[in-house]
Subunit: 348 residues, 2 copies
Amino acid sequence: MKSTINDVAALAGVSIKTVSRVINNEPSVRPATRKKVMDAVEELHYQPNLAARNLAGTRSYTIALIYDNPNAYYVIDMQNGILEACKARGYELLIHPSNAKSDTVNDELRALVEHSKVAGVVLTPPFSETQSVIDEINKLGLDYVRIVSSGAAEGDEENCIQVDDTAAAFDITQHLIDHGHKRIGFLSGGEEHVSTHGRLDGYKQALQQAGINLAPELVIPGEYSFDSGVAGAKALLESDNPPTAIFASNDEMAAGALFAARLMHVEIPEQLSIVGFEDSPFSRQTWPKLTTAHQPNNEIAKCAAALVLNKARSKGAAESAAANKEAGITKKFVPELLVRDSTGDSPS
Amino acid sequence: MKSTINDVAALAGVSIKTVSRVINNEPSVRPATRKKVMDAVEELHYQPNLAARNLAGTRSYTIALIYDNPNAYYVIDMQNGILEACKARGYELLIHPSNAKSDTVNDELRALVEHSKVAGVVLTPPFSETQSVIDEINKLGLDYVRIVSSGAAEGDEENCIQVDDTAAAFDITQHLIDHGHKRIGFLSGGEEHVSTHGRLDGYKQALQQAGINLAPELVIPGEYSFDSGVAGAKALLESDNPPTAIFASNDEMAAGALFAARLMHVEIPEQLSIVGFEDSPFSRQTWPKLTTAHQPNNEIAKCAAALVLNKARSKGAAESAAANKEAGITKKFVPELLVRDSTGDSPS
DNA sequence: GAGCGAAATGACAACGCTGTCAAATTGGCG
DNA sequence: CGCCAATTTGACAGCGTTGTCATTTCGCTC
């Protein structure tokens, strides 16, 4: 039924080692031989057994996605993107949700390597921005790719897929300013995320460039959640001198802000403009639909996965190939402004 | 660094086979020996290597989750539940999104078995309700658990985790009836889902029991999506004799209905009541918050995973254990009515 | 067409575990 | 105290690959 490398070798009339060479794209196989083998592979629908490969080889065919993110859409997008890249190259993906608070990631990482012989990992915030995690990974000799907010790439650009939160936040804020808004509230994400600071920076830069003074009371701390968006927007709207627009650090918070506005009978966008960030599916399902910044998570994930996979692969093969193959992999993304219905001209 | 079964055997002063027996909980090991081995395992932090196990054994330590569902929350809940169960038993989970339309599942299933030696699968709708898929799985000799709408369990209750959509839909409809609603619109999910029919049945039964005639024009076909909810609700509201309440087959459709209502300046719940189904996180983030039926997906997934895992395990061990272990596994769930703010008394 | 270095191929061990089956140990009983 | 059956333990092969290293074949040169 299921064919092994032996079957292929027999059919092609070569040794199993030669088959191994062909399927691993190693050099030193004559074209004629290679063809014979490939034909046999084709005919038998041969697929190398992963367990055997992982066991025998020095390199492994499994990578892991490590995350701690309550946002289902984000996780799914990431996951699907990585899965695509894996499938294309015959790799397997281990999903590993963890807990940033509990501080057990490092142990889990070690277990992942020893227990399942993982070759590489894709790290998402906040792990991707935590030094101790990166140190551990280096100690373990794992290949990795960090999906980070630009600020966190430091001297490690090689291993990072960057999202330029600052530039995108600048654009968003500018959009608000263009509509005549001068008092713009800012709902912050969690302190531990570098993106929180990046987005705040973009907001500040846009204000400054427009000659608008930063009003510290308009910047509300929060944590990337719906409830936090509700609370933040409420605080803002109940203040003495409420803003005419609110920049929520992500779509969930924006949805929360929308909820708060509704609660307080504030019309959107007539009396208040609200923007989000990420372009989550539900930013299209709110009323009104949210103006936001499109963050292509699926694409980001695909690039991240392709990057780790190339690394893992280039270990054995020609190192030079690495740079070569990175062509087609985008390493820096700038979420693009997406104007929908939650923003309009300033009422004042 | 990483210890193998040999290290444990050496430290415990026994053969590797005995160690194997202990870690697999096989009988025929004297308590004293067992303890020696367990101490050694402890001391070395030994964890069996999964690739080796999968390669050597007849049984495997990997299961797969097969799904085709655009609802990120659903998938994540399922996934996390299964992951928990897997982790507890040292299993690995392969995530396998597929496409019900493309009809490639069967091939993919086969590849999963041959390529990765998967031992069992958890199937979610619509695959769990597709006979050809189930046939293929049986042919492959895979253990499986189907998460299905009650109607689809047929004579295969043993392998099913059932969700009683009919009972839950009945309760929801009853809730509406209790509030004086007599014209209740019904927004259907996709035809291919058995749950669609189950929910419709519950709706019909409640109407009948209350002596309300079914108005066929109030039942709108759709497909479990936001857009479909918008369209369905619009059609209903624009009709000559619009309903005073709408039962949307899931929360996404309900959110769509909310959107349509807003568009048409219909106040919820004053002029129209809307209910959803599933208790997705965003049913709490709409305005107003949705009345819905709480479907405990995470719990369902955990039970499903525990069930496949028990099956895979009991293969070698005492068969009798199976029934025993199933204690604690719920096999039938009835989503519970959750009254929030989108329903109220009938205006008429 | 003999000789040589390079390229292509193959034989075989090893990866870490489980399954099979044989060997050793145990305990009960006459 | 010895014998036998039952229980416990171990030796060894094998799972399907890859890595190492030896062997064969090839393409030239003179």
